[in-house]
Symmetry: C2
Subunit: 154 residues, 2 copies
């Protein structure tokens, strides 16, 4: 969907081809996003990206391209594990949080059984939660964790 008066999209420019009116890359890789196309092309290959987009309705292509760009960037940053590093880090975080929560809930249960009452929930929950949320953001951006055995199920 090349607009009149504009140059070719980032995809056609890199592939040195004419950017036609109904170019499948143009809506998702505008001229100013050449790095995004370059990374997706390096990891998936332009022809695979074309096939993947053609198999999806237009309403889902923006999300698909964003997910592909995320995956491709993760693999460029971490050529061994790619996004799977982030999945592994998040899984470890979930396992650890589940264990801590189970322990805290079991302890609370004992307190309630011992004292037959429950104090009102405190007002400082948001403040307590804030630092762990920051830790999560760090995990999202790094994508550099090792991959656990549970991921190798293929």
């Amino acid at each position: 969907m090349k607009e009149r008066g504009k140059g070719p999209c980032a995809g056609c420019k890199l592939l040195r081809r004419k950017c036609v009116k109904d170019c499948i890359f143009a809506p998702y890789f505008p001229a100013e996003e050449s790095q995004k196309f370059l990374t997706v092309h390096k990891i998936f290959g332009a022809s695979n990206v074309t096939k993947m987009l053609q198999e999806l309705p237009e309403s889902q292509r923006t999300d698909a391209v964003s997910a592909m760009a995320y995956e491709a960037n993760a693999r460029v940053r971490d050529p061994v594990y790619g996004c799977v590093g982030a999945i592994s880090s998040l899984q470890s975080q979930v396992d650890s949080l589940q264990a801590q929560l189970a322990l805290a809930q079991a302890e609370l249960l004992q307190f309630r059984l011992l004292h037959h009452h429950r104090p009102p929930p405190p007002s400082s929950v948001a403040a307590v939660n804030s630092p762990t949320s920051k830790h999560l953001s760090a995990v999202n951006l790094s994508c550099d964790g090792g991959a656990g055995d549970s991921l190798w199920s293929y």
Copy 2:
């Protein structure tokens, strides 16, 4: 690394080429794992997989192929979000667990302040944790979650 007496590796068989002694695919895509190569080839393309493997030391190639196979399978199952769906689901799970843990810990703190003692940790933590661990496995295998805004940072 084709072994004498065996046929070509899954990669060379699919690409209909001679499987040479130092074939880069052979150690990771044996003849009996044709589906694994087919999926990785469909998503990344054989030439990109070759380049990615050539850029890694041999000691890291097995993990890299496993991660690529995981990513490729996730994208075949979920052509819009791929692995990013799993990352999004895990992030939501981490956010929810962090909020629940913060609440439970704040409540425990209040109990301790009120009663000036702490009961011994219960012996049933593993049993309490087990169901949530099963839930995590379900998330790993599905890869079908939506992708959150925090993932679209490219």
